[in-house]
Symmetry: D2
Subunit: 139 residues, 4 copies
C-alpha cells in the first residue's frame, strides 16, 4: 500500500469520535487487513464487569470496515450494510485486538470478517468473530 492510502485510513479513523471514546487506535494497516486495539475502559463495561458487546462489536466492525477500505479508491468511504457477531468468551484482560480482513472485495459490496481477541499478559483469547458486508460510498 502506498502512504496516501494508509494515511486516509488513519484520517478516517481519527474522524470517528466513537473510537476515541473507546480509547481505540489503529495498530496495523495492510492490503485487505486492518488491526485495531483498545483497552477495556471503565466506561465500556456490561453488567458483569466485562467489556460490553457494543465495545467488541465496535472494534470488530471498524476493523472490518477499514480492511475493506484498503481495497477501494481513495475517493471512497464505506458504510456497514450488515454484520453479525458471535461472542465466544467474556471481554476481559488488558486490551482487545480486532483484526479485520477482506473475504471478497467489490465495488458494490465487500464481504468482510473480523476476529477479536482479548489479551491478558502473554495470553490471547479469541472472544468474537464477525462476518458482514460493507458498501463503498463515494465522498
Amino acid at each position: 500500500m502506498d502512504q496516501a492510502a494508509i494515511d486516509r485510513i488513519h484520517r478516517s479513523f481519527a474522524a470517528q469520535s466513537m473510537m476515541a471514546t473507546l480509547g481505540a487506535r489503529i495498530e496495523e494497516v495492510g492490503a485487505g487487513h486492518v488491526r485495531i486495539v483498545a483497552p477495556i475502559l471503565p466506561g465500556a463495561l456490561q453488567q458483569q464487569g466485562f467489556g460490553h458487546a457494543g465495545l467488541t462489536f465496535s472494534l470488530g466492525d471498524s476493523a472490518a470496515g477499514y480492511a475493506s477500505l484498503t481495497t477501494l479508491p481513495l475517493d471512497n468511504e464505506v458504510v456497514t450494510a450488515e454484520i453479525k457477531v458471535n461472542l465466544l468468551a467474556p471481554a476481559k484482560g488488558d486490551r482487545l485486538i480486532a483484526t479485520g480482513r477482506v473475504i471478497k472485495p467489490g465495488k458494490r459490496l465487500c464481504v468482510v470478517s473480523s476476529e477479536v481477541h482479548a489479551e491478558e499478559g502473554d495470553r490471547r483469547t479469541l472472544i468474537a468473530v464477525l462476518q458482514g458486508t460493507m458498501v463503498p460510498v463515494p465522498v
Copy 2:
C-alpha cells in the same frame, strides 16, 4: 410484570457503564419487550458525523437482551451469544430508540429481535434491525 422483575432490569442496566457512556436510559419495560433511548452524543460518531454503528448496535443489543431477561427467573442474567444487525439508514436526529422483543423464549436459548429508530422532531426513521440469540446465565 411485578415490580421486582422490573427493578432487576433497571438494576442490571444501571450496572452497564457502557449505557451511561452512551447516555442511554430505559424508557419502557414490559413482558417480552424493552425500549431503550439515547441521544447521539458527540463522542459516539462515525467518520461522516452520524451515529456510529457501534452505538446503534449497543442500544439494539441491550434492548434485545433485556427483553429476553423479562422472560427469565429473577436469579438469571443473559449474555449475547450472537446477533446480527442490518443498518438501513444513517443514525441522525435528536435521539435513537431501540425496541427489543422476544421472538422465542427459552431457558437454554432465547431468540430476540430489535428495531432501532432515529427520531428527528416528529419523524421516526427505522435505521436498523437486529436478530440474535441470548443465553440465560445464573447469577
Copy 3:
C-alpha cells in the same frame, strides 16, 4: 400490484428447479410480501426425521427474495447477498409456510425478513426467522 408484476414472480419461481424439487408453490403475492408453501417431502429430511434446515432456509430465502422483487421494476431479478436464519423449533407437520416481507426497499440493496411456520392440522408453530439482504440485478 398489476398482473404483469404478479406474473413475473410466478414465472421466475417456476424457473427455480429447486422449488419443484422441494414441492414448493407460491400461495400469495402482494406488494412487499410473498408466501410460499411446501410439504415436508421424504427427500428433504435431516437425520432425526424432521425437515432439513436447508428446506426451511430455501423456502424462507425464496419468500424473502420474491418479496423484494415485488418492489422492483419488471426488468430486474434479485440475488441473495446474505441471509441469516434462527431456527426455533423442529420442521414437522403437514406443511411449511414461509412468509417473506420487505423491511427496507432499495435499488441497490433491499433488506428483507421471513417467518417460516410449520402447520400441523389447525396449529401453526413459528419454526424459523430469517433476516437478510437482496441485491437487484438487471436481466
Copy 4:
C-alpha cells in the same frame, strides 16, 4: 479421531435424506472439520440456472454441523441454532465443496464456520461463507 467417531458422522449423514436428494457425500472427516461435496444437480437450480442458495446453504450448514459433531461425545447429535450465509459468487461449475470447521467447541453451544467453493475443472472459486451456532442434543 477413532473409527467409531468417524462412523457415526457417516451414519448420521446417511440418515439425512436431503443430502441424498442433493447428491451430496462426505469427502473428509477430521477433528473439528468436515468436507462435503455435491454436484449441482438439474433439480437444485435457481431461476438463472445457477445452483440455488438453498443448495449452497444446505451443504455449508451440514459441513459446519458435522464439524461440530466431531468434537462431541458419541451419544450426541447437533442441531443448527442459527447460521448466516454471505453469498459471494454464482454456484456454477462441476461441483460444490463445503468445508466446515469449529471455531469454538462447547457442550452448550458450538460456534462454527463453513466455506463453500465451486469447482470448474482445475479452478476453485469461493462462493459462500457461513458462520453459525450448533447446539448439542443428547440422542
